[in-house]
């Protein structure tokens, strides 16, 4: 299984924190970031940055906590840089 980094976007930082804490309880540690405007069609979104293999767990927790995922985006391979290209569309529900 490939393990590329992805961004899972949520509408609110409160929601991101809720999911992050649930992941921590399962010993999964992920990073929170502001969703780049070039990726998110919606304003002021925040995202969890994790490996793709964690996506099913994130989805399960989001469902349990009644939090909607706004989008899942592959992170462009730019080395340490975090510059994002223009939106190529979400892999996920919008």
């Amino acid at each position: 299984m490939t393990s590329r980094p992805i961004l899972v976007a949520f509408a609110s930082l409160n929601q991101v924190n809720a999911i992050k804490r649930e992941l921590q309880r399962r010993n999964v540690f992920v990073e929170m970031i502001r969703t780049p405007q070039s990726l998110a069609a919606i304003g002021c979104s925040f995202a969890l940055r994790c490996n793709e293999e964690r996506l099913s767990l994130v989805r399960a927790i989001a469902e349990q906590t009644h939090v909607r995922i706004d989008g899942v985006f592959p992170e462009p391979e730019e080395g340490d840089s975090r510059f994002y290209a223009s939106p190529s569309g979400s892999d996920e529900e919008a």
């Binding site: 509408a11 609110s12 930082l13 409160n14 929601q15 924190n17 809720a18 992050k20 804490r21 929170m32 970031i33 502001r34 919606i42 304003g43 002021c44 979104s45 925040f46 906590t65 009644h66 939090v67 909607r68």
Partner: protein
Amino acid sequence: MIYLDQAATSWPKPRNVAAAVRKTLLQPSGNIGRSSYKVALQMSEVVYECRENLARLFHAHDPLRICFTSNATEALNLALRGFLKPGDHVVCSSMEHNAVWRPLVAMARRGIDFSVAQTNSSGILSIDNVLSEIRPNTRLITVLHASNVNGAVQPIAEIGTAARRRGIAFLVDASQSAGAVPIHVEQMKIDLLAFPGHKALLGPQGTGGLYVREGIDLTPLREGGTGSESQASHVPDFMPDHLESGTLNLPGIAGLNESVRFILDRGVDAIAEHESCLGTQLREGLERVRGVQLYGPPSGSPCAAVVSFNIGDLDPVAVADELDRRFGIACRPGLHCAWLAHQTLGSTPGGSVRFSLGPFTSRRHIQTAIRAVRHAARRRYP
């Protein structure tokens, strides 16, 4: 000073509270939900941790159902004004604080009726008196959990169960009970729980909150920036953003997080037991002072550590002043923003002298307070 005014605001606070407030003010914390640099994201974790700790304290399943307010009054106004619509009817108790009574009176002018379920003369509500006030259009029952005047604790679980069975929402004003009396929102069938951060939760002033059960929809009191869905012309429909427009009191919430953590570590049951023992000691001591009239519930009734009394016809303000000047006792005389409750207890128009205790109150404080009241009473009853 002997501080017996915990029902107005608690003091002292646990040590870590001031440290957390100080840290938030002295170090950059950003503004959560707006900025996304490291410290702003770290601060958002503190705020979420506070929601989690509050949810744990109240046995609420979902921390996102807790929104922050600046005090319990704001939380109560949000619950009442956000939930009720013209044509609705509300039942409250005759022990309510002005934070509920005044909004209800104001809302009655725009077609939201309310009825007052009478308590007994000790301030304790019976379920029958609540049920007898219910009408076909009753949409909400609101009850003060523990009285800020005499500590009477209402049968919340019983009222909540009756309300849920009838499809009526149940709002609990936990201004005196949150942190001092065990609260279980699921078991007690509480739909809305309003609480201050600065009283028995031992946090800073300017903090408070409202628990909103899933399925209860409130219209926000404020609309504005939430740091989410900024492209939309309306506030988000999800909690807590729906009710939290504007910048939160981050230093206050950081302090509240520490105080709630302290309470969780110590245990609400242990705090309640400590305060109950001291409250009993105080009531029994005051009962033996000639001329003292107590307004508390009968011994053995559920009661928070709030004790109200008068010495004959002495002005309660003059008594409190004497206790302060001669004994360094800080307490609150008067009506305690609760005219309705004082009417119920028969202590209008002057009100009473109120001692209210906390987790840091000691037996020595109680002994000194009883001695001081005895001294004050001797002037009137030599």
